[in-house]
Amino acid sequence: MKTVIIQYNAGNIQSVLYALERLGETALVTDDANEIKTADKVIFPGVGEASTAMQYLKERKLDLLIKNLEQPVLGICLGMQLMCTHSTENNTPCLGIFEEQVKQFKPLDATIKVPQIGWNTISNLKSILFEGIPENSYAYFVHGYYAATGAHTIATTNYVEDYSSALQKNNFYGVQFHPEKSALIGEQLIKNFLAL
């Protein structure tokens, strides 16, 4: 099996590779169109800012390439947000795979910190991606923007309000949390994705 991790100008890409290596898997980190197209599984990770990431993807025509992939694709954190239609982070049009909108957390009072950093529960799990993962498991999150809930929501988390901690549409999967840093639950999710 050939797994590709898309290389672009966002952080945390190596961590995803190391997580796969911990599971005894290998992956190619690349921005080469042909390598991505011919992979069995594609992981689209990332921590960073939406507009600079989208600009980078567009310049290399990776935006169209990602949208048109037919094999299982897993977006992580910023990767998932970029798969949505639009992010209010610097008013950025995104890939438009998921119709859900990406907005910034608006804390109701000073006790709520933004970005959300830490472990929170994932609930209303409904996808093969969560096979063997119990309802209300803890996952590790680092983000100041979130995807609203919608037709493609396959997991929800509450911070300020309920939002999409995972999305799925056809072969496209996205998780807002970091499976590569979410202990055993995260490892199970990565295994589930690779087994699709």
């Binding site: 190596q14 921590v47 910190k113 950093i117 590790y140 840093k181």
Partner: protein, 252 residues
Amino acid sequence: MLTKRIIPCLDIKDGRTVKGVNFEQLRDAGDPIELAALYAQEGADELVFLDITATIEKRKTLSQLVNKIAHRINIPFTVGGGIKTEEDVSILLQNGADKISINSAAFLDPTIINRFAKNFGSQCVVLAIDTKLEADGNWYVYLNGGRQKTDSLTTEWAKKAVDLGAGEILLTSMNHDGTKQGFALDITATLSSQLAVPIIASGGGGTAAHFYDVFTTGKADAALAASIFHYKEVPIPDLKKYLHQKGVSIRI
């Protein structure tokens, strides 16, 4: 619900874990990779590695250690010690660190906070502050591992750092560090109330009750300790069970 975080800290010198008491008298507390893997397995929410050698010639050794840690543990970790340039940060992140921690270098040149936040994102920039309550009733910023006093108030420096892009504050009370008599609840609560970023309390945790106090009265988002974990005085699973039973939001 977002949980409070328990963070063991591993002070690293020449590739080994050591722990200073009141920033002096170092004791060897074992192999950092084994210890890190054990903590991850026991339910630690994050780890912090502070390289207290951090000389230029040792930096390569640190990045190799970070790489080994990243290949072994499945929870987030922060690395600090001697970080001054974008290249330092880039090397550590590429080797698998999730966040970097900066202290004296940021105080001496606050623009690095802004530059690091812009280049790598605020989420990976942890500003560490060593602070001490003086006889005048104010908390002051100390540099160079607590050896050098400044005239800056901790509240003012922390606010400036957050404005520049620091994503979290790691606050160590020198009055409390090594005493095992409890965390500095007042300054921790003050910073947590004033700042929009998470506060990691450090220094003085000696019992499970101290952690309860710092998460409630101290309003801390996370609490860090070293030797009580290294010497198994407060086992992490017991600590988390205790906090959960007391109604603190915690991952168990």
